[in-house]
Symmetry: C2
Subunit: 633 residues, 2 copies
């Protein structure tokens, strides 16, 4: 019977010094607790999302030196330590000409790193390199598949468990790294190859970011692997946050073990920096714990946990302890304000209401009530006068045309005035107040707005971080309810904010009570999710085909009535689709390029997760055919 420890430390990307210090403490702790084997996550030394810092030789050499420290730390105890690190082969290069790098798992025992006997290395090499969503593995790492081709052999011939001798018995650890376990679409199945090669237990060390509902899929897939191999499968994942510039990902840990019958047998708490202990019977190849029960996921609770953790850790990393939020009296800013009050304490949050000519007493009152209920700092900074001054200055200043020797004045349209108001709020007031208050200011944009660029450059789509930038409008409302009910247990967000129709309040047409946002959120939220979140990227042709066949409601997951009530005919439906599709592929891309980092929780967040070029919108041949048919009817 072996005692196994599975740690899920909070890894700091790009800081091998801090991570190694933490790992050395975990080794002491596990040894003191009598553990025989300690598992640590993939890339536990360097972190994973570090961008092109992987190219800096000094950095990766430091990671190697830290790894040696960890190996050395096993010299004077009986603990076997499995950990992820970058591994170098300085005699070879990657295909980009830089030093050969592997995403590797080290098995350290009695001061030595142990290989699997098949590879020319004393570490295990990751086979399956993900190159989708935020993953850029092939940019940095050489895969086992590439190495096999280089050596003139196959991945299978290089795959074997790592043998350790512990308590007088030989145990064969079937080591793999993260994507190696997500076997759906790779033609080499790493876990089953390890099982065939005689592994006693399968061990997946990961650096796997949280995504809504991913845990359920992992339980299904990894459980099935354990069952097929008739071996337990350990899943070891880190906590903390890592970012790729545009996206902030949370790592929930949730390390666990699946028993040899596929059942989930022990699971660490999400987002907790903890160590999971359990016993492994080498004879029966079984884990000796009672089955764990995977918690049924409440969507809003899961979202709040991830958003709160991601925002909190990101602010900590940047050293931001105070936040300023522009409070309009609408749902987005109210939810954001409550989030920061929960994270930082209300005394460290300054809410700023910035009424202009078109703001209703109702929303001004809602803003005040929110600040009072949250017990934050609050100020009202009107923009009417400054916007008027800008109007006067720009229209009254003569422009000299040196080309023709003439002079003229500029004249300002109402649409331009809308954006001048938004920029006055964001870039003049909020950025200024944030600097003065000693903190940063928040971007309150939600995913529905970001999809179609319903925001003003340097106005409302700016700030240090967009905590609700990966949430659809309906998720924002749900989060508001959750904050009132569960977090504050009092209606910090006034009821009217939930019931009034959202409006930007930037023109006589856009006021509360007199026309609101141009988006019908219950419909457009679902439509936009198809644009960006569906795996095969739903196109306008798909939408039109489904509309034409009467199956669109089913694909959207809404009632047919909603579609019928929103669009009086096919022409109206098509005009709406083209309007938003053109914005989604057009101006909204330009805005996203300059948008703040987004706390990312969905299966597709804007940023490096969803890469995009500024293109001209494209409609396929099928689209035009369907459109013509529909309009002829």
């Amino acid at each position: 019977m072996l005692k196994i420890a599975c740690a899920q430390p909070e890894i700091t990307a790009g800081r091998p010094d801090l991570n190694t210090e933490k790992i050395l403490k975990l080794i002491d702790e596990a040894a003191a607790n009598g553990a025989d084997i300690l598992f640590l996550p993939e890339c536990a030394v360097p972190g994973y999302l570090i961008g092109d810092l992987w190219e800096q030789t000094a950095f990766i050499e430091d990671c190697e030196a830290c790894g040696q420290d960890i190996i050395n730390a096993t010299a004077d105890n009986d603990l076997c330590v499995v950990f992820g690190n970058i591994a170098l082969d300085k005699t070879k290069v990657n295909e980009d000409g830089r030093v050969r790098k592997y995403n590797a798992a080290f098995v350290a025992h009695h001061g030595k790193a142990l290989g699997n006997g098949k590879l020319p290395y004393n570490f295990t090499v990751k086979h399956s390199l993900p190159n989708y969503r935020e993953f850029d593995d092939s940019r940095y790492f050489y895969s086992l598949a590439q190495l096999a081709a280089e050596l003139g052999t196959t991945p299978d011939a290089l795959t074997a468990p790592v043998e350790i001798n512990i308590k007088g018995q030989t145990v064969k650890l079937g080591i793999m790294l993260c994507e190696d376990g997500w076997t759906d679409n790779y033609h080499f199945n790493v876990p089953q190859a390890l099982a065939r090669a005689g592994a006693d237990i399968l061990c997946n060390i990961s650096c796997s970011p949280f995504t809504l509902n991913k845990d359920a899929k992992r339980h299904r897939l990894f459980g099935a692997q354990a069952e097929e191999a008739k071996l337990p499968l350990i899943y070891c994942n880190n906590t903390g946050i890592q970012n790729n510039g545009k996206n902030i990902f949370t790592y929930d840990g949730c390390s666990c073990v699946y028993n040899s019958d596929g059942t989930l047998s022990a699971e660490a708490k999400a987002y907790a920096e903890t160590v999971l202990y359990f016993d492994f019977d080498c004879q029966t190849k079984k884990i000796n714990t009672a089955p764990a029960i995977a918690e049924p996921a409440d969507r809003t609770a899961a979202i709040y946990k991830a958003v709160r953790y991601g925002t909190q850790k990101f602010l900590q990393q940047l050293g931001i302890t105070k936040m300023v939020v522009g409070l309009s009296g609408g749902i987005d800013s109210a939810v954001t304000a409550a989030l920061y009050a929960d994270i930082l304490g209300p005394q460290n949050v300054l809410l700023v209401n910035m009424p202009g000519r078109y703001n209703a007493d109702l929303t001004k009152d809602m803003a005040l009530k929110t600040a009072q209920a949250l017990k934050t700092n609050y100020m009202v900074v009107p923009i009417t006068e400054s916007v008027e001054n800008t109007f006067n200055q720009l229209t009254q200043t003569l422009v000299t045309a040196y080309n023709s020797g003439t002079q003229f004045n500029l004249s300002i349209s109402p649409y331009v005035m809308e954006n001048i108001q938004a920029r006055d709020r964001g870039a003049r007031i909020l950025a200024g107040v944030a600097a003065v208050f000693g903190g940063a200011f928040s971007c309150n944009s939600n995913k529905s707005e970001i999809t179609v660029g319903y925001a003003t450059f340097y106005g409302d789509i700016c700030g240090a971080v967009a905590p609700i930038g990966d949430l659809w409008k309906h998720d924002v409302y749900a989060l508001g309810r959750y904050l009132n009910d569960k977090i504050f247990a009092t209606p910090v967000i006034p009821e009217e904010i939930f019931t009034m129709r959202p409006s930007a309040e930037l023109s006589p047409e856009q006021t509360v009570g007199n026309g609101g946002d141009p988006l019908v959120y219950p419909y457009h939220d679902k439509l936009f999710a198809l644009f960006v979140e569906s795996w095969h990227k739903t196109s306008p042709a798909d939408i039109l085909r489904w509309y034409s066949k009467g199956t669109l409601a089913e694909h959207l997951g809404c009632q047919q009535q909603l579609i019928d009530e929103t669009f009086k005919d096919a022409a109206a439906f098509i005009a709406d689709l083209e309007r938003w599709w053109k914005l989604f592929c057009g101006l909204a891309v330009a805005k996203r390029i300059q948008a703040p980092p987004i706390v990312s929780i969905s299966r597709r967040a804007y940023g490096y997760d969803h890469r995009e070029a500024q293109l001209t919108p494209y409609f396929s041949r099928e689209y035009y055919k369907l459109k013509n048919e529909l309009l002829k009817k």
Copy 2:
């Protein structure tokens, strides 16, 4: 003797409809001109930098349909057409579970697409997939190497030329795609494998962006390949621009042919949408043209050509015909203004001088003189009053602390006032004026500033495009000279702008004549280039080691005297290095995340070309050791 046509059309990324229309015209033209074979670039149908649009099935099916139209267009003539397109295999998936996609070359003749007889397809599959800089090939395409592994064979066994029968003789075309020819670090050499397999001529179809000095490297490498294979090598590359969101790349075409002795034998004009014709003797396997002479590259001329083309085409794509530039009287804005005047005509450019409290008469005068010399539109919009109003409004508005029931006022530091001025200029005036003038405004940041974030969020690091964002300060000065001497042939940029010390003019300390920018550009330009542009990413440890050994000047390419004069001792040197390194890895990353797209011309531009996470700055073990040694001395 065969007549070969090599076309370098301007490809529009994401628009297979437009590209196909253009290709069909080129087919008619080449046939009418008596060509036997027409070469077209890699990804000529879809374009290449289209981000995750590759995931949209409707889009790639349209590309396939367009490809079929091109194949059909060869049915009624004798022309053989070689073109790049995406190729699908709907019976298989990529490793991400999406439909199998190859970056492929099609050889179309007499209405049929011809395979090489080894692959199970009627197209040639790209072997070498680049995953560095802006390239994400493995994210979207399945490689020949992966396919070989899947089929249980080797890339060599699947590689062969494509045979065509033309004018009664058989010609074997050794087809490869772009990176297949950049053989340095791949263990399978595609061109030599094609030669071994009997190719009569090597043909590299590419979609290869311009990079300073890349042409010289290509001439060396491709010439050597031709010589080794004893075969001519055709290089076919497109023109136009493509972007990945953050970077705008120019494609210079420069299609050419290397003769069988490795000499450059015909070359198309850079950035010209043209067709190169030449004769190929199938018997002698030689190209019948006089050797072409590779133009010696003048760095500044090459930079201007690329920056002008990239900026012009990007504005065209966005439909922007008018530009607004904030004109400070310094070199960056003067160069930018002259660039737009050259591109759009001076009547479509509005220069805005925005003096505040700290602006000198000298710079105000320089701004006016620049506008007059360029004959643009010009206006002066002072910010003194609006900045004072903001100061008063923010400091006089009471903040209520609902946590404690108290009230307080905010107080503003001089540093905060600097940024308030910058934002007043960028977000209030320029963004407003641009909208009113009916155009966009420009970001004038250069690469030196962008490296260390010497810019204000929503102030000067904003706008639709950063045309000089990939140019070091010394390149900007050189471009200023070039504009005066070569483009305008008159000093549109006044001499004083070249000779005065640059200053942000944002505080009493930062004025012209009284302390300027904190950067010593001749030194810091070179230092920062090592940070970001060196292939193995120079680290602070490298810099310190070279400084310690007295070899830093050599690595920087500057005089030792410059280093000695800039830093009185090692402590001053180290303090400077750490100051800028921390900014480079820290706050500057946050600013780059929200920065506008950069016209990219160097071997490493900020954006998707240089991917980065927001991390805490890291110094390696060696760095601390060297630092301690140096400070002890």
